[in-house]
Amino acid sequence: MATFTARMAPLLVLGLALCLSGTWAVDKGNFKTCEQSAFCKRQRALKPGESPYRALLETMELTNTRLTLQLINDNNKVRLLLELYRLQGNITRVKINELKPLKPRYEVPDVLIREPTTEPLSVLSQDENGVVLSLGVESQRVIISARPFRLDIMEGSDVLMSLNSRGLLAFEHLRMRKDTFSYKVTSTVASVWDNIKRVFSSQADPEAEKKEEADPANQAETTKEEEEKVEDGMWEETFKSHTDSKPNGPSAVSLDFSLPGVEHVYGIPEHADTLRLKTTDNGDPYRLYNLDVFQYELYNPMALYGSVPVMVAHSAQRTTGIFWLNAAETWVDISSNTAGKTVFGKMLDYVQGSSETPQTDVRWISESGIIDIFIMLGPTPKDVFSQYASLTGTQSFPPLASLGYHQCRWNYNDQEDVKSVDAGFDEHDIPYDFIWLDIEHTDGKRYFTWDPHKFATPKEMLQGLMDKKRKMVAIVDPHIKVDGNYKIHNEIRSRGFYVKNKDGGDYEGWCWPGSASYPDFTRADMRAWWASMFAYDQYEGTMENLYTWNDMNEPSVFNGPEVTMHKDATHGAWEHRDIHNLYGLYVQMATAEGLIQRSGGVERPFVLTRAFFAGSQRLGAVWTGDNAAEWGHLKISIPMCLSMGLVGISFCGADIGGFFKSPSTELLVRWYQAGAYQPFYRAHAHVDTPRREPWLFGPENTALIREAVRQRYTLLPYWYQLFYRAHVTGEPVMRPLWVEYPQDLATFALEDEYLIGRDLLVHPVVEEGARGVTAYLPGKDEVWFDVHTFQKHNGAQNLYIPVTMSSIPVFQRGGSIIPRKLRVRRSSTCMEHDPYTLYVALNLQRTADGELYIDDGHTFNYEKKEFIYRKLTFANKVLSSVNLAPDAKFTTDSWIERIIVLGASKPSKVTLKTADGQEKQLEFDFDASMSVLTVRKPGMNAGADWTMTFQ
């Protein structure tokens, strides 16, 4: 989908249209730089130095699992309350809020899956300079220094992470606006109240009281000085023609983190940038503010559609993570003491032994809310993934079919069009599972309705797809047409469910339907109502094979500031400013809940979202928004999805072919090939582009695309079990090489290749006219097998692979067993009962292992232990299948039709022994030139116990 400019341009004045048509780049002027965002500018103006904050150790309270401590800003005497928790699984939580805010500050709900389990903390030592706490595990300690306040997390003698070591903690306390009458009255009352409180609290807080009283003159003076420093943008801010009224005044929070020994940081999606985050000293910080960016530009830190405020830091020694739980506009600065150094310079340092430890410094700035951070201490990448998963949950387990191929276009014009595209796939023998309908399918952009002429009989259409075991997705956006004849609008309005503008009326903005209002998805009652609208009797014309796509949920407001909602709009007690980055998550949450409810809780939902936040991984799939048909966009799809995977969102993909513009045939084919090996596999195109269904580019290209899609389908069992694992453990499906080879420095910045699970290495061709690619095969002790030729390659080498238009370089790791279904059919559902082929790739030790997960593919019954989960092991010339979940029950018709052993030697006989004790000799083929052994038709059920001996 697109932004305002793309779709509404015909309505605009010619001048604007002309101006836009000339270029295909984002109009940066529509979006704020840090300099243009008042709080970012204010905060960034603070330079590292001595922090004005001091820890009042005498206020420290320690219960079994919770430590609290007051911090005081010596400049303005405003006190903060610091809370520190030790959480289960090696996580430290630090919360900082005002001790006595004028009114409550926003704390993000609904993102953590539960109140995290705490673990005991204990004081190891304490003096007037600070406190040392034990973190329970190993030799990990937290040192709280009092003056100035800083916090260091140590392991042995190593500092793992320091907070406020650069003195950038800043907490803009809520205050009264002083030029108003109400301020004067209230401040007088407040000061009287403060005096009263002081009298009563002096008992509890004698030390602090003494200090404050010791120098009252000084205090008064600094307070006065501070109060007078009213800067532009504190109480009102104007960007382009939009004014933000800021009734609560300044409320930003900021904190710095130092990461000694770290040169590589990742995460904080969504940015169209490299996998390894760059230093931001010479430009803007990375911005996290969900925005509908028209024709986004590559390799810059501008905000995009979604935000996950999680950063992962990695070095050969350790992996850690920082989760900054704040849903307001956020900016992240990164600097490094080695950033400016050349490789030679670093080498010189090393040789001379003079080098300071490399260190990365990070600083987070948010516009409102509180500081609530989770420090995930690893130490391995997978530990960080499970730590983060323990906080915000894991990837939802998608229906198997949604891992197949999706055919989308803005728009399939009518039922006839859908029918003929569907028939086109059969005619050209290309599998697909979902066909998608964009906004034009509705009756005048009224979601939950169908165009009465073009989609007059939707059930007939859906039944037609169901007869072919295929499915459909229709779009449901969160902007609701303001129209008195539209049921959805009337209901939301009469229930008072709309977001309100600053004056208390229903917020209205401009979007696809024209004037539109936005339901307040932060309300649980609103979400429950929204979910109920997906019931088959409410959402007319729907059936169980119709799923949902939430677009424009940043939210996109064409005539709003930065194409989104005004920050002074309100969601009950909170401003939009506080919740902005959460809105999209809530939309998807309510929608997914609707799909679950309509089936009585039986069926797994499938919902695609464009906007997202921490926790969105629990709700469905995410795509990288409105990309373009350019080689650069194909290339960046890899680091963009890798970045999301690192912070929990595994179900990621980019529009195949590119949304804007029209791809060359070569680009389209390469994109189909690359996309076949990315988690979410959907082709999509802008309404103004020519048709590009896979068969429109001549038989040769049709064949290339068919082959790419078929490769995807043969691997669906592997994708499915990886998603099951992601769902259970939180580890990403598509992952950077360093996740599996954490000590191999050569992998730390790789972003043109990646791993699917642990066992498949993919290096797609993403360059125009490529004659070859150079893939890095990691692991000194590894061997890798080309999955197409079965050629064996040693690890820890850069391998040049000549490519033709049909090449998709993919390698299977020696030591792994990957199940495939080689009988590719019309859709994944048609393949349900088909047999498996096991690809056993032997490592240097001549062993291998893998898994096989099978369930019904679409219900929640797996939660009731209705699945098959088996461990496949090859060792000592015996291949066996062992039940990993003996308490689970499921039966399958699928059987094992073939076993292919890569790197094998020729056996004299192969014997299968099944659970009933029967033995039979199996026929096999051995290809000596490639050392490939193929065992013919062993025939055992995929859910059974068996062993196969190669003598």
């Binding site: 249209a17 836009l20 048509s21 069009d417 075991k469 048709r691 080689l822 590719v824 039709e897």
Partner: protein, 435 residues
């Protein structure tokens, strides 16, 4: 009787023993009990491995009746209808593909045998199409005849026009003399001169419409000097105004319009005081119209003669005709060999969906598709274009329009000119094949 006979034979054909999914034509390669050699010759396997649900042959030929080979194909006999091959991946996938249900023998899918019904329907529609083709083909013969006559006429007319142009040029020269005379006279003589001028300037005598067929709005539009209000933009409405409110006029109508034009200029020119100016203006206008008229005549005739109207000029009758189709939103208009337009039903300006480009059918039937190109440009996209697919029909009519891709239109158009001589339908060829 023949049909019954054929059906009986078909049923007996099914009885012929052969492995599942093998067509009769390949029956001899699958000999029961004898080792089977893959059809590509790559290897030989025991016969019990044919259709044993494991793919042994690279070419998939050992599993014609199962889904085991990724590249296999399955033959449905479809008795009563048309036999066909389906990819073997559609065997037992729970979806009924063969009308005789033979592809779903082990999937639990409940399929109905629909072959007879399909066969009946197909025969009916073939019959219908044959009738249409027959009648259409007859019409086509007439069209060819008329076209050939018309072409000769036009060639002759072109010669006439060339002749009369010379003739008229002489007359104009004479008028110029009159005009020059009129510019010289004394004031009191003006009335007389004017009358003389008017008298000699018989519109009948110089109207180009005597030799032209039609004058249309687009043609007028290319002559901005005819702009009635001379405001620099000569609109379609203004051009229509000149033509008396229609898009196009024929010879007879042009006469009256010609005098309208005259009146219009007379009345406007009366505002001016100078009599000489009046004479001047009138002469000017007429001179332009004179040249203009002949210009069109030449262009039109030359253009028409140069068009590719098909191998026997059977499409010539479409020239200078327009055909409309009204949908829920738009009125589409196809003017063959000219252009395609779209106009909103409820007001709004007309959009050009492309001007005549070329015949664009596949090599073996190039006249089955017309391509209209370079229409009004699209925002951030190409200029609009329309593909017109021609099918045989008795009537000449636009049957549907769609916009499969933004700014790329597709029109279905039936006309007799595309009809082919219908084949002899007595024996259906595919049934032959199977026997």
């Amino acid at each position: 009787w023949l049909l019954v006979c054929l059906l009986l034979k078909l049923f007996s054909a099914v009885e012929v023993q052969r492995p599942r999914g093998v067509p009769l034509s390949k029956r001899q390669f699958y000999e029961e009990g004898k080792p089977f050699t893959c059809l590509d010759g790559s290897r030989t396997i025991p016969f019990d491995r044919v259709n044993d649900d494991y793919c042994d042959c690279q070419d998939g030929s050992d599993e014609p009746g199962t889904a085991a080979c990724p590249n296999g194909s399955f033959h449905c006999t479809n008795a009563g209808f048309r036999p066909t091959f389906i990819p073997s991946s559609r065997i037992n996938d729970g979806i009924c593909d063969c009308c005789d249900t033979t592809d779903e023998y082990n999937s639990g899918a409940t399929c109905q045998n629909t072959c007879r019904e399909l066969g009946r329907k197909e025969r009916e529609s073939l019959q219908k199409m044959a009738e249409i083709a027959k009648e259409g083909f007859l019409l086509k013969q007439q069209l060819i005849h008329e076209a050939n006559r018309g072409l000769e006429d036009k060639k002759a007319k072109l010669g006439d026009v060339q002749g009369s142009k010379k003739d008229l040029e002489a007359k104009v020269e004479a008028l110029r003399t009159v005009k020059e005379a009129a510019e010289q006279p004394e004031r009191e003589a003006k009335e007389r001169h004017l009358k003389a001028w008017e008298g000699k300037l018989s519109f009948k005598s110089i109207s180009p419409s005597t030799v032209c067929n039609d004058v249309s709005v687009p043609e007028l539009l290319s002559h901005s000097e005819l702009d009635p209000d001379a405001d620099g933009s000569f609109t379609e409405a203004e051009a229509q105004g000149l033509l008396g409110g229609v898009d196009k006029v024929d010879t007879a109508a042009f006469e009256s319009i010609w005098s309208n034009v005259k009146e219009k200029y007379m009345s406007e020119v009366r505002h001016y005081t100078s009599f000489f100016f009046l004479i001047n203006s009138k002469f000017h206008v007429k001179f332009i119209l004179f040249n203009f008229g002949f210009g069109i005549c030449f262009r039109n005739l030359e253009k028409e003669i140069s068009f590719d109207f098909g191998p026997s000029s059977e499409f010539a009758y479409l020239y200078s005709q327009c055909y409309e189709l009204t949908t829920s939103e738009y009125i589409y208009r196809l003017c063959p060999f000219n252009r395609v337009t779209q106009k909103p039903k409820f007001g709004g300006s007309e959009t050009n969906l492309g001007s005549w480009g070329k015949w664009a059918g596949p090599e073996d039937s190039i006249y089955s598709v017309m391509k209209y190109e370079h229409g009004t440009g699209c925002w951030q996209g190409p200029s609009r274009s329309t593909t017109v697919k021609l099918t045989c029909g008795k009537e000449t009519v636009v049957t549907s329009t769609s916009e499969p891709s933004r700014c790329e239109y597709l029109m279905e158009f039936t006309c007799p000119a595309i009809c082919q001589e219908p084949p002899n339908l007595e024996i259906s060829s595919h049934e032959h094949q199977e026997l």
